[in-house]
C-alpha cells in the first residue's frame, strides 16, 4: 500500500482531541432518588471526580473516526497484482511529428505530457525523415529512461537545410562565425558576425615576419578549439637558441596530430624543397624534436615539438622574410584546427543510429496523486460514515 498524500497523516494528530475531551470532561452522574443512603458504601468524592478516561468504547470509536478520515485524505492505494497488471497493460503513447525538422522541442513537450499521464507504460514515437542534425545523443538522453522511444522514418528529407559552418580567424584577434546553406547542388556560406578572439599563434621572429602573418590571416584561418596554441620559432630571431631549449616531448594527442598534418602539407613540402637553409643545431636531431620538413639537400629545415606551456612549437631554419616561413605559418595554423567535414549534402541519420536510440518502455512507475485515476479512499470514507453512525448511537444510548 502506498499513500498518495502522506502529509495528510499529520491530520491524525487530531486524535488527541477526543482523548483530551474524555479526560477533561467531568463525569456526569445521573440523579437517582433512593429510599435511603444507609446501605451505600462510604463515598469517595475525590475518586469520583478524578480525571479518568470514561466510556472507552466511545473513545475508541471517535479515535477510529479521525484516524480513518486522516487515512482517507492521505489517499491510500493498495498495490495489488491485478492493479499493477492493469497499469502495465496500458500503454500511454505520445507521437512527435518531426516533419518540420524540430524533433528536439517535440521530444521535450511529449516527455512533459507523459509525466502527468495516468499510470501505465509510456512511449514516445518520433516520426520524421531524420535529417542529420535533427536529433542528437543529448536529445535522447534528456528523455527519462522509463519512457520508451521508437523512431519511424516518414516523409522525404528536406531539400534545403542550414547548418553552422566552422568559424574562421580573419586576424590574429578576430573571429568570424559563418552559416552554410545546403540547397540541392548549391552550397552557400555566409558570414554571420564577428567576435574578439585570442591569438592562437606566437611568432618568435624579426619584425618583418608580422607582414607575412597578416597575409596568412587575410586568407582566413580555421579557428582552432580553445586551448590549442602554437609557437613558431624563426631562425633569425634573437632568442632562437634559448627558445629551442624550451622544447619538451609531445604528450597531447592534438599536438602529435598537428605535427603529422604539417609534415603532410604538400604545399609546404613543395616550397621547402627549393630552400637551402638547414637547422644546424644538433639538438634538433634528438628528442623531443620531430622532423617536419627537409630542404633540397635532404637536410632538416623545420622541426616540431611541444613546450612546457602545452603548446605546439615549430622551429624553422628559414628567415622571417622567406616565403617558406609564411607557408609554414599557414600550415601550422591550419594544423591547429581539427579536420572539417567535407561540404555535406542533406543526408539522413542512419538506421543503425536510430536503432541504437530506440528502447522499450519500462513498467508502470509508482503513481502520483495527480496522475492516479482511482484509489481506495472510498472504503475509508464509508468506514467514517458508518463509525459516525455508531458514535451517534452510542451517545444516545449512554
Amino acid at each position: 500500500m502506498i499513500w498518495l498524500v502522506p502529509i495528510a497523516w499529520v491530520g491524525a494528530a487530531a486524535v488527541a482531541s477526543p482523548i483530551l475531551i474524555h479526560l477533561l470532561a467531568r463525569p456526569r452522574a445521573a440523579q437517582q432518588p433512593f429510599p435511603t443512603l444507609r446501605f451505600l458504601p462510604v463515598v469517595d468524592e475525590v475518586a469520583l471526580r478524578r480525571r479518568r478516561v470514561e466510556e472507552v468504547p466511545l473513545l475508541l470509536v471517535r479515535c477510529a473516526i479521525l484516524v480513518s478520515a486522516a487515512a482517507a485524505v492521505a489517499g491510500p492505494l493498495v498495490l495489488t497484482a491485478a492493479r499493477r497488471a492493469e497499469w502495465n497493460a496500458r500503454l500511454v503513447r505520445e507521437t512527435v511529428d518531426g516533419s518540420d525538422g524540430d524533433i528536439r522541442t517535440g521530444l521535450a513537450r511529449a516527455a512533459a505530457r507523459l509525466d502527468v499521464a495516468p499510470p501505465g507504460r509510456r512511449e514516445i514515437v518520433v516520426r520524421s525523415a531524420f535529417p542529420v542534425g535533427s536529433i542528437a545523443d543529448d536529445d535522447v538522453a534528456a528523455v527519462p529512461r522509463a519512457i520508451g522511444l521508437r523512431f519511424e522514418r516518414t516523409g522525404a528529407l528536406p531539400a534545403r537545410r542550414e547548418a553552422d559552418a566552422p568559424a574562421v580567424l580573419v586576424s590574429p584577434d578576430r573571429l568570424l562565425r559563418r552559416r552554410v546553406t545546403l540547397d540541392g547542388p548549391r552550397t552557400t556560406v555566409r558570414d554571420v558576425d564577428g567576435a574578439p578572439a585570442e591569438t592562437p599563434i606566437d611568432i618568435v621572429a624579426r619584425a618583418d615576419a608580422r607582414a607575412s602573418l597578416a597575409a596568412v590571416f587575410a586568407e582566413r584561418v580555421p579557428a582552432p578549439p580553445s586551448g590549442r596554441r602554437a609557437r613558431l620559432l624563426v631562425a633569425d630571431a634573437p632568442t632562437f637558441a634559448a627558445d629551442v631549449r624550451d622544447a619538451v616531448s609531445v604528450r597531447d594527442a592534438w599536438i602529435g596530430a598537428a605535427i603529422a598534418t604539417i609534415a603532410r602539407d604538400e604545399e609546404l613540402l613543395a616550397v621547402v624543397a627549393r630552400a637551402g637553409e638547414t637547422l644546424s643545431d644538433p639538438a634538433f636531431a634528438r628528442q623531443p624534436w620531430l622532423p617536419v620538413a627537409r630542404n633540397r639537400d635532404g637536410r632538416l629545415l623545420a622541426a616540431a615539438a611541444a613546450d612546457s606551456g602545452r603548446r605546439l612549437i615549430v622551429a624553422a631554419a628559414t628567415p622571417s622574410s622567406s616565403f617558406a616561413t609564411a607557408v609554414l605559418m599557414r600550415s601550422t595554423l591550419d594544423a591547429l584546427a581539427p579536420p572539417t567535414r567535407a561540404a555535406d549534402d542533406v543526408v539522413a541519420i542512419g538506421d543503425a543510429q536510430l536503432h541504437a536510440w530506440s528502447r522499450d518502455p519500462a513498467g508502470a512507475a509508482e503513481p502520483r496523486r495527480d496522475t492516479i485515476d482511482d484509489d481506495d479512499r472510498r472504503v475509508l470514507w464509508i468506514a467514517v460514515i458508518v463509525l459516525l453512525g455508531v458514535e451517534t448511537w452510542m451517545r444516545r444510548e449512554r
Binding site: A30, Q32, P33, P35, T36, P41, L48
Partner: protein, 284 residues
C-alpha cells in the same frame, strides 16, 4: 394471581381490597385472626405476659406443664394497621411504589378484618383512625387510606406505640413499612407492643431495586426523606450495598423471630394477593 401493576391502576381502594381479599381467601375457611373468646382453637406453651385466666390448670395438673388456651375469636378482635407513609415509601415511582403496595395490602386486610365483624383501625404519619367495626367505618378508613401520600419522615416507633396504646385489650398490630426508620427504636416499640400482649406482625415491604441495586456507572443518589446526596460508582458499590441490605433484612428476620413477631418480607413485584395469602397462612 393479581398483577401488582394492574392493582396499581385501580384507584378505588375498596375495590382493590375486595379483589385482593377474594383472591386471598380462596381455600382459607377460617379466620386467620385468633382472639381469646368464643370457640376453643388450640393450646400453646405459656409465655410470660399471657393472661393467667387462660391457663388450662387441669392440663397443668396432669402434665406439670403450663399451656395457654387459644380461642378462635369471633367478634372481639381489634386490629390496628400501621402504614408507613414516609417519603422513602414513594420509591420507585408513584404508581408502583412501596406505599401503594402497603396501602393496597392494608386495605385488603382492613376489608378482611371488617368483613369478619372485627374492629380495625389505622395509624399513619398524621392519621389515626381508632379500631371500630362496621361497613361505614371501613369505608371511612379506606377513604382516609386512599388520601395518604408518601412524604416526609415517619416515626415508626411512635406510630407503633400509639397503635399499641389505643388498642383495647389485646389486639393485633400489623406494621406495613420499609423499616428504614431508626432500627433500634422501631424494634423496641415492637417489642413493647408484644409485651403488652398484642399480636404483632410486620410486612416488610421493599422494592426489587432496593434488593438488586441494578445501577451502573456514576450515579448521584438522592435520599427521598432527607434530600442528602451521595455520588458514587454504582457498579463498583453494588456488592457492598447488597451485603449491607442482606445483613439488614436478615437482622430483622432473626430479631422478629426471637421476639415472637410475625415477619414477612415482601417485594413489590410479588402479586399482593399471593403475599397476603402467604402472610395469612403463616398465621393460621
Amino acid at each position: 394471581m393479581i398483577d401488582p401493576a394492574l392493582v396499581a391502576r385501580i384507584s378505588d381502594l375498596e375495590l382493590v381490597a375486595r379483589i385482593v381479599v377474594e383472591g386471598t381467601l380462596s381455600g382459607l375457611h377460617r379466620s386467620p385472626f385468633h382472639g381469646y373468646d368464643a370457640e376453643f382453637s388450640q393450646y400453646r406453651r405459656y409465655r410470660p405476659g399471657d393472661d393467667l385466666k387462660h391457663l388450662d390448670w387441669k392440663l397443668a395438673a396432669r402434665t406439670g406443664r403450663l399451656y395457654t388456651k387459644q380461642f378462635r375469636e369471633t367478634t372481639n378482635l381489634a386490629a390496628a394497621l400501621v402504614v408507613d407513609d414516609s417519603a422513602s415509601m414513594g420509591f420507585p415511582d408513584a404508581r408502583l411504589s412501596k406505599f401503594r403496595y402497603a396501602a393496597t395490602s392494608a386495605a385488603a386486610l382492613a376489608y378482611l378484618i371488617s368483613s369478619q365483624g372485627d374492629a380495625v383501625g389505622l395509624v399513619a404519619r398524621e392519621v389515626f383512625v381508632g379500631a371500630r367495626t362496621g361497613r361505614r367505618h371501613l369505608q371511612s378508613l379506606l377513604a382516609r387510606l386512599s388520601r395518604l401520600a408518601p412524604a416526609g419522615a415517619f416515626r415508626t416507633d411512635e406510630a407503633i406505640a400509639l397503635a399499641a396504646d389505643r388498642l383495647r385489650g389485646r389486639g393485633v398490630l400489623i406494621v406495613l413499612s420499609d423499616l428504614y426508620d431508626e432500627e433500634e427504636r422501631t424494634f423496641e416499640a415492637l417489642r413493647r407492643a408484644v409485651r403488652r400482649g398484642h399480636e404483632v406482625a410486620v410486612l416488610h415491604i421493599v422494592s426489587p431495586q432496593e434488593v438488586d441495586f441494578p445501577y451502573a456507572r456514576d450515579v448521584e443518589f438522592v435520599d427521598l426523606e432527607t434530600g442528602r446526596r451521595a455520588a458514587l460508582d454504582a457498579g463498583a458499590a453494588r456488592r457492598a450495598y447488597r451485603d449491607n441490605v442482606t445483613a439488614f433484612l436478615e437482622r430483622w428476620r432473626s430479631r422478629a423471630g426471637s421476639e415472637g413477631i410475625q415477619y414477612a418480607l415482601v417485594t413489590t413485584d410479588t402479586p399482593p394477593d399471593r403475599a397476603l395469602r402467604r402472610f395469612l397462612l403463616a398465621r393460621a
